[in-house]
Amino acid sequence: MTAKVLTVTSGKGGVGKTTATANIGVALALLGQKVVCIDSDIGLRNLDVVMGLENRIVYDLVDVVEGRARLRQSMIKDKRLPELYLIPAAQTRDKTAISPSDMVRICDELREETDWVLIDSPAGIERGFRNAIAASDTAIIVTNPEVSAVRDADRIIGLLEAEEKGPGKLIINRIKPELVERGDMLATADILEILAVDLLGLVPEDESVLISTNRGNPAALDSKSKAGQAYRDIAGRLMGEPIPFPSLDGTDNLRKRLARLMHRGGGS
């Protein structure tokens, strides 16, 4: 069993990297996979909060790198799923505390022990990003359907390609179908035309994500959450299942679909 190492990155901050890391980790564990999530955002750690495990931190990633703890000691077992683990970041240090080769060493040690390693990358393109992608087999790029997020994602993909870690797979997060339909939000096709990478997932804007973050219960555990379902679909695709993408531009509604057809025929 050799683990696949996935780095979740974006360039832009606040697009949903940590949410994606937590939810994909949970969704894979729900499918019976062994998963270790690593928060590499040293100094601004969040993955522990999103997963609801912040009370259980004893040792963190920097403790392991600096030899104060063994890898196993830093791995926090998830309270709901037995095969899901978190290695938290340090909050009192910064990104210079670890180096790319430290990450490679840690992931090499984990490769024999688990099925998946998910690394939550910090925002930006500096040391934190470099640390996060050092051991990556595949990059998952998270973006929002919004011009500045796509600009940053393009930059990140360019850097991934330059480091020969590219091109990666794309998750478009926080899609609002009504706005796409009105033409006020970038459509998936527009984003893919610029970024030109394979699509991994489409996640709709869903207030259940905010609620679940505050409670430390990732939305993928909630069968009624639309975003949760999107992350479960992403986990399925990572496992090789051919799950179709939802059409998030509102054409599920037959009446709306007919109205669009008629409008297209009549107008210019």
């Binding site: 600009r151 360019g158 850097l159």
Partner: protein, 230 residues
């Protein structure tokens, strides 16, 4: 015994050469040859290759009159015999053909063009290319990507980034793209932003006309400004 006479058209006129034999045999043979086709030689300039015939002024004069009778002008005789050459000069005849102005090499259709670089990839945000020459991109130029060229820029794809052609002041540089939608376009010292546009208008070329940056639909019949590739 008749001597073989051969008449060949060359640039300067008709070159007359003889086969084996003496001048006493060759001269009548020549006249016979000329008389057999009188109209053919009318008005022609004759150049006679005398080979090693030893001729004197009187012989050459008779040759000249005979040719003149038949409507041919004798201007030049070619001879290996110094005596004949002397005699010809005394008679005012040329003894060599003028040097031909034939070019050494045949006319060539091979062109040389000017320095250019080809990027066979899409330029992503943050990529930049700076080149002392022309730049051609086989792919898109995404917003946040940048091209600076001293020459012209051609994008075989969507141009959505920033481009500066003629970066050292060449106002004849042009920018072409299949979809010309740059964030900012500069040619030499002039800059412009792309006006908001709806559907793509097809391939376009941007150039400087009278101090104004203009973009026009690409029309293959219209030539680009002179020296756009220079």
């Amino acid at each position: 015994m008749p001597v073989e006479v051969s008449v060949k058209g060359i640039h300067e006129g008709l070159l007359i050469t003889f086969g084996e034999g003496s001048w006493e045999e060759a001269f009548p043979s020549l006249l016979n040859h000329l008389d057999s086709k009188p109209d053919f030689f009318l008005g022609a300039n004759a150049i006679v290759q005398l080979g090693s015939f030893p001729l004197q002024v009187v012989d050459l004069a008779r040759l000249r009159s005979a040719l003149a009778d038949r409507g041919m002008g004798l201007r030049t005789v070619l001879s290996e015999s110094p005596a004949t050459v002397n005699a010809a000069k005394n008679l005012g005849l040329e003894t060599s053909l003028p040097p031909r102005e034939v070019p050494e090499t045949p006319l060539s259709t091979e062109l040389t063009g000017s320095e250019a670089v080809l990027l066979a990839q899409t330029l992503r945000s943050g990529n930049s290319i700076n080149f002392p020459g022309h730049v051609t991109v086989l792919g898109d130029v995404n917003p946040g990507a940048e091209i600076v060229a001293t020459g012209s820029v051609i994008v075989w794809g969507h141009l959505r980034g920033t481009v500066h052609a003629g970066a050292q002041g060449d106002e004849n540089a042009v920018v072409c793209a299949l979809d010309l939608s740059p964030m900012q376009l500069r040619i030499a010292g002039f800059a412009a932003t792309s006006p908001p546009r709806g559907r793509s208008s097809g391939p376009e070329i941007a150039s400087l006309r009278d101090g104004q940056l203009v973009a026009e639909t690409w029309n293959p019949k219209e030539k680009p400004p002179a020296h756009a590739g220079g």
